[in-house]
Symmetry: C2
Subunit: 140 residues, 2 copies
Amino acid sequence: MDKVDLQQAGLRVTGPRLKVLAVLEAHRDNHLSADDVYRILCEANDDVGVATVYRVLSQFESAGMVKRQVFSSERAVYELAEEEHHDHMICTTCGDVEEFCRAELEQMLEQLAEAHGFKPLYHDLNMYGLCRRCQAQQQA
Amino acid sequence: MDKVDLQQAGLRVTGPRLKVLAVLEAHRDNHLSADDVYRILCEANDDVGVATVYRVLSQFESAGMVKRQVFSSERAVYELAEEEHHDHMICTTCGDVEEFCRAELEQMLEQLAEAHGFKPLYHDLNMYGLCRRCQAQQQA
DNA sequence: ATATTTGCAAAGCATTTGCAGAGAT
DNA sequence: ATCTCTGCAAATGCTTTGCAAATAT
């Protein structure tokens, strides 16, 4: 089914692309940087050039298969695109990323935009703070 | 009063720092990149090294005098810090940045965070789309 | 007088690009 | 057979840093 995704995106089915896709799927719950993907592939002896990883990720993004995020001016991270939009809470201590979505919130944003005569296309909403675990550890 | 700001921040009052501050004040309604600031100073024959501009801006940020923003992975831009928090609408066509703030929105974010056991410290909320002017031009 | 700040040029980091060879259709 | 993709290494763009001279206190 990966092949199909690639073909639908008008991309040839190649080793590097399948490998990158596999890595993203194997780490669905993490947000990986291009370099993370590269490293994971290297460790698995699946040799793919860094440049290719960057190129493939950006092609996937253009094809709408992955989403690119930049959290507080760190390096970009990628996640497989899901149909439903979501926003992020990023722990400033451990770096953990939690996703959330709330229809009311999205509605309110639409309304706010409209009130400013602005036609919204997409948005980034990132909350930075302490995740549950790090709060607990801080108290200890 | 600029001098006072610098002194309060524990920074010595120097030419370059005053000049950078002056540029930011003269462009309150724009979001300037480090290079924008550098260029503006050059054009005014107020020679300050680029490195200094970067250093000064980051010192100002640490001191809470300016806010640093990164819109959709472009270069960082800076704006004088205001007491009230605000979010941004960025026109994807002309790059214009509009600020907005809505108490209900901030409240909802707090609630959402709490519901996730997350302790929010700050957030970035950027909407990308078409500003009023660019919408009009698109139709023409 | 002394500690901080500046400018320059060099280094750093993430990411992109040119190009010739390898690979997919 | 042809057009696309890959890997490498070099280039890019923004930002940071080392260091000696200049400056603020």
